[in-house]
Amino acid sequence: MSTIEPSVPSRSRQVKKLDRLHWPAIARLTVYGVRIGLRANALEFIDPLLSRIPSGFGTESSGPIDRLYSVIGDTKPRADEKRRDCNFHFANGRRLAGGTSWEDVCDSFEADLEVLVATRSRNALFIHAGAVSWKDKAIVIPGESHSGKTTLVQAFLELGATYYSDEFAVLDSEGQLHPFPRALRVRSNLAGKKISAAEFGVATGVAPAQVRLVILTRHVPGLRWRPKALSQGEAILGMIQNSLNAQRHPELALSALQRATDAAHVLGGTRGEAKDTARWAVQHLNR
């Protein structure tokens, strides 16, 4: 564990106030090229946070960081159940969670980190998309929130596909898809239940995969699946439209998308039930 305090480009008044506290646990990491600093008021709080980072991360030794997370966990024993939770979470001095449960602090850390990495990554293109692989052939399902991505991912997993992500398709500059797995947020009820890929009895992808199928559709209840072949150019536009960091890094975006779609079939149109679409896609890839 590094003992060097991670530096931020400009230290706000709030960050300086937090600097005065005691931080025995510090980590400096890179996640897809985004440099983060993480500090906690006790060693026991660092590992649970690191386990929330969806994909592999590297360690950094020096240099400025993009965001500093400061986490204050409640170290006092819970003798009194009525006492409020005293867990806090700050990002560059801004409070993201306060007076909440430890689980909420971990959730807020994970959510903020995901958006930070997806919008700031310098070496990977992040697209709002579900992603699975079938016999080492990656399937990418771009779409905004509530477009049915997770339902379609779930349908593929039930057929035995390998899980890569239900929120972000991550493409490197060579167009290879990388895993960004997290517990699926299934919206079967208002709360949105989290289900891990393991609960489906399927594997989570660990190696990059070549994209072979892009499904650019929208769900319309009651309709039959009528796939329409789209061109490579339409696929690229459709994926740019769902990207989070293409505007920041257009060269990376074009390079990644051109290579990703070079050998991929692209299907558009409207779809009905996810199970029918998934079954059709798997049969198509098996040919």
Partner: protein, 123 residues
Amino acid sequence: MRELKDELILYDTTMKRAHCLNDTAAAVWRLCDGRRNVREIAHVLEKDEELVWMALQELEDSGVLNRDVPQTIRSYGLSRRELVMKIGIGAAVALPMVSSILVPTASAAPSPPTKQSPRRVRR
């Protein structure tokens, strides 16, 4: 700019827009060098002048030309349908097409919610 098999992708870093030109539109765009007129472009491409005018209209509407086209297909009084009838149904697949999108900003990404405990009300 990215050359695909039958298409061309243009990324406008100033306007933050991406465009996809089909084969015909891309061929006309490449010849828009400020020196050739429509007749010359049509001659090089071995296509009807009306088709070139239509491509220029598409390119102008999408904002990928840096100067306004002085005359358009509409000044001929021809609709897209009438042009297809004129040049032949078989040539319909060669009609120029430009698709454009606005590249989303990072702020379009969903913001993670903050989790705060409810404030106590002091009586």
